[in-house]
Symmetry: C2
Subunit: 295 residues, 2 copies
């Protein structure tokens, strides 16, 4: 049975874990909890949790050891989408084929829902009773996640993205922005699973490079789909970057160069997996998925 | 030498620790880091860090064991002020006698600065090399802080506050809102220091009740100052609650009842400190300060 065949089971697993970690919508304050659940449940590719589980399979870990990391990265991702969609940021109405969180629940509740999801992500890592990680491993995961989503990671990348609107960036600057905005959390998804195992420095470094390469490849593919995809398939507004006059990879390098770069990054990622042998097939599947996806 | 006489040294200490933990304003993305530093440095009563150090003195801990907790609670507090002041929330222009963060840096950067400060607070607890806390103690602090600032704590309290605008709340509902919005983080400031020590359950519970009582007393005093204080002394706009038609303690119970409640909560807090003897004088000083302050 291949990783692709186990996908539906993993998607169910993370959906259930997310549902269990989120307070019920009947819990006071109800609108805040409803907004948090709306932002997290019932949609999304779940790429980051899948990366956690794929890395876990590669390292021969049990899924129970990985659920907290899978939940935490997805909550951080969901909060970032809620805040990025706000009127003061990208001002978007459509996300995962539905109204964005602030369209559905109002701007104030959306800001607070994002804030509370970030706190919940760290809470899950600190206290989830299911995970068998030691205090030391949990601490390493929290440290990594905080770095990946802070001002030198995801939030910093979004700040660079906003500042770049209407300006010209070099290709190196676009790559740096993508590495922070999207790449840092994708790399963290791989390495958090790594912290649940005991890894040699060389293997840790190999996974880090794998995560960096597919993180950048993912965002370049996102840029390509923003140009070429269809709003209906994407579940979000297409052509956003062009509309907002934001520099993205195809805009700076051209579409065919963007596709070539995305493919070569996937190959680079695959090369990092050699030391892991066949055990890394799940991560190989993810690397191919990242550059072949159409939504 | 009393705690009051050691205050300037503690204020210097936390200011230096905050400065060291924040990335330099010359670090890319510069505007984001400048906004984070603006939101955190050079102002504020530092009540929460002072509570950390006062609890530490009571428990005979060294300040080095407490710096990370002091920095983390103040970063969470600062991020909450930045987000609460946003146009979609309380829409405030003045904070700590200066323009609010979004007035100085724009709304998008203010949202991201708040987000990044929250991540940085958890990062400091996870990895600050100065603190001598064990992995287990750090994990307990992170768990507590995440609870205190999440949807069942501070963010939840702010959601209730926003939803209450223009409505009538009972006194019990106002107290519940205050306990979440302000009280949870103040209580956490006391208990995080407690986690750096080894406490009996009874002492832990006594500190928890102390923290809850002064947390509520602090917010009632805030409401009183919002009615009675002067904008210049407060460093923020006075009469905000009335202007926004927000229910607060004096509005629901009357000013003299509010003052009596604030004083009786301080007395309740003082009673919790009896088991600690004279060692708890720093916490006694804080309890008196909370209800006697004029800004």
């Amino acid at each position: 049975m291949s990783f692709a065949e186990r996908l539906p089971a993993y998607l169910n697993r993370v959906e259930r874990a997310l549902d269990e970690c989120l307070p019920a919508a009947t819990c006071n304050p109800e609108s805040l909890h409803a907004a948090m659940r709306y932002a997290v449940l019932g949609g999304g590719k779940r790429l980051r949790p899948l990366l956690v589980y794929a890395t876990g399979e590669t390292l021969n870990l049990k899924p129970e050891q990985l659920d907290a990391a899978a939940v935490a990265v997805e909550m951080i991702h969901a909060y970032s989408l809620v805040h990025d969609d706000l009127p003061a940021m990208d001002d978007d109405d459509l996300r995962r084929g539905r109204p964005t969180c602030h369209k559905a629940y109002g701007e104030a509740t959306a800001i607070l829902a994002g804030d509370a999801l970030q706190a919940l992500a760290f809470r899950v890592l600190a206290c989830d009773p299911q995970i068998s990680a030691s205090d030391r491993q949990r601490r390493a995961m929290i440290h990594l996640l905080a770095d990946a989503c802070g001002s030198l990671g995801m939030a910093g990348g979004q700040a660079i993205d906003l500042a770049a609107t209407g300006t010209q960036l070099s290709l190196a600057q676009v790559e740096e922005m993508h590495r922070l905005k999207t790449g840092a959390l994708i790399r963290a998804s791989v390495l958090m699973a790594g912290f649940a195992a005991t890894l040699s420095d060389a293997r840790h470094e190999a996974l880090s490079q794998y995560g960096s390469a597919i993180g950048l490849a993912f965002q370049i593919q996102d840029d390509i789909l923003d140009e070429e995809g269809e709003t209906e398939t994407l579940g979000k507004t297409k052509g956003k970057d062009r509309h907002h006059d934001k520099p993205n990879y195809p805009a700076v390098a051209g579409l065919s160069e963007a596709k070539a770069r995305s493919r070569s990054l996937a190959d680079e990622a695959l090369a990092c997996l050699e030391p892991f042998g066949k055990a890394a097939n799940p991560l190989r599947w993810v690397a191919d998925y990242v550059v072949q996806r159409v939504s």
